[in-house]
Symmetry: C2
Subunit: 235 residues, 2 copies
DNA sequence: GTCATCCATACTGCATACAGTATGGAGCGA
DNA sequence: TCGCTCCATACTGTATGCAGTATGGATGAC
């Protein structure tokens, strides 16, 4: 890391340091902390779909004033976790099976494209990074480790590909879609497909071979295939 | 419309009316009005990229308090029109050529998919609606009408297809992307391709024939093709 | 003249205050 | 018993107040 290099240098030659090289713990804004807290409450089911989120009571619960709570709720509204009814306030969004399918569909589109881009942009270092995650995931999967770890590794693999694809707009959209998808998985989706590391292997090979079309098609099938295995409650 | 039907009915039988059938002018919230006002100021170049948007002065300019301005700025930040720097406030976002390309790319992806869905979902009424817009656009284009009307018709055609495609998640994302794209077109893009109604004709035919794959491919080429004709300033 | 330090300024982020409105139930009449 | 009206309540939307911090220029040291 550049910062530690500079720290190793003799005192007085710290001029190489640039802004942010030595970050200090800067507490995130209250509205951001509130946002994360409320999102977790929703994702973990502590706040049920349809529930009215009164600003005052939420503020008291979290030990802050209404203001940051308001702003957090508006942000969560954009992300699809709550609905704002004019004059009524915020209510926990009630996801439908249709909506879940749509989110997964769009996610498949964007990830497939990112995968295509990744195959075009990837360098040897990127391939090594993917290999490392794949090995971890493959082994963890075969050893039947903790499901949460498996999910985490699965996400890591997908995110790494998206980052190599390097379309920041797509990256930002996918971040939101993934969090929504995670919520759906935790609530209205009763049965999820196991992540297939055999398919991941094929995708990785296509990327390593810089075969963009193949990589994109494989990823599309990979996600759409798993989507068909999902079972939705309701609708 | 259901409302007028009911209004034609004899007095006293108004029980058929349901919520919202007779909407009254309900002023949008201040934060929403501020949001739109500031977005227009940015899109029309009244506020230059990089400019600092101080809450107080904006509030005074618009005749409201800081509160709705704050909330509007946060909303505009999510939409990509302003950047929020912690402790510094809001600055008009400075779009790059790369970012513009990425937005157009993602837009092409989503619209192409919507087009595919449209070809699967469309009914005869939908085809007629597209035909009507096409005819208008084609003729207006041949008569070389006001560029703003041409742009409007072009948008109408694309939006109609997206609506027939009926993926609401995609629809919402595209609405945002289109507004960003409009801004880029107005600022950093110096030369835009004329909308091709010949290509629109082919897309419409594919939808009418319910040929989803062809429709999707045509739309992808249509947008990606026009993207290549764009010339960007900077970067 | 150059550089570091200090401070006045301006503005954000959060808290509080106030006015207006949606809502559900009590009360009243049929 | 049923339905309408009216009102108390609770909560949102907006305004204002206050404390903390980033910034740029003035001031002084070298």
């Amino acid at each position: 890391m550049a910062a530690s290099d500079s720290l190793d240098a003799p005192a007085g030659t710290a001029g190489q340091l640039s802004r942010g090289d030595i970050p200090v713990m800067r507490r995130a804004s209250l509205r951001e902390q509130v946002r994360q807290a409320v999102e977790e409450l929703i994702v973990f089911g502590k706040l049920a779909p349809g529930e009215h989120l009164a600003e005052e009571s939420l503020a008291e619960l979290l030990g802050v004033s209404r203001q940051p709570v308001r702003e957090a709720l508006q942000s969560l509204s954009v992300a699809g976790f709550v609905d704002l009814r004019a004059g009524r306030g915020a209510f926990v969004h009630e996801p439908t099976a249709r909506e879940a399918r749509e989110v997964f569909h769009v996610r498949a589109l964007l990830e497939s494209d990112s995968c295509r881009l990744a195959a075009q942009n990837v360098d040897d270092d990127g391939v090594r990074r993917l290999e490392a995650i794949y090995t971890q995931g493959h082994e963890a999967s075969q050893r039947n480790e903790d499901p949460r770890r498996l999910i985490e590794l699965n996400r890591a693999f997908h995110r790494a590909i998206t980052e190599i694809g390097a379309n920041r707009v797509s990256l930002a959209l996918l971040a939101d879609l993934e969090r929504r998808a995670g919520w759906y998985l935790a609530t209205i989706i009763t049965n999820r497909a196991p992540s297939s590391w055999a398919e991941h292997r094929a995708i990785l090979d296509a990327i390593a071979a810089r075969d963009a079309d193949l990589a994109g098609d494989l990823m599309l099938n990979h996600i759409d295939h798993s989507r068909e295995l999902l079972e939705f409650t309701g609708q």
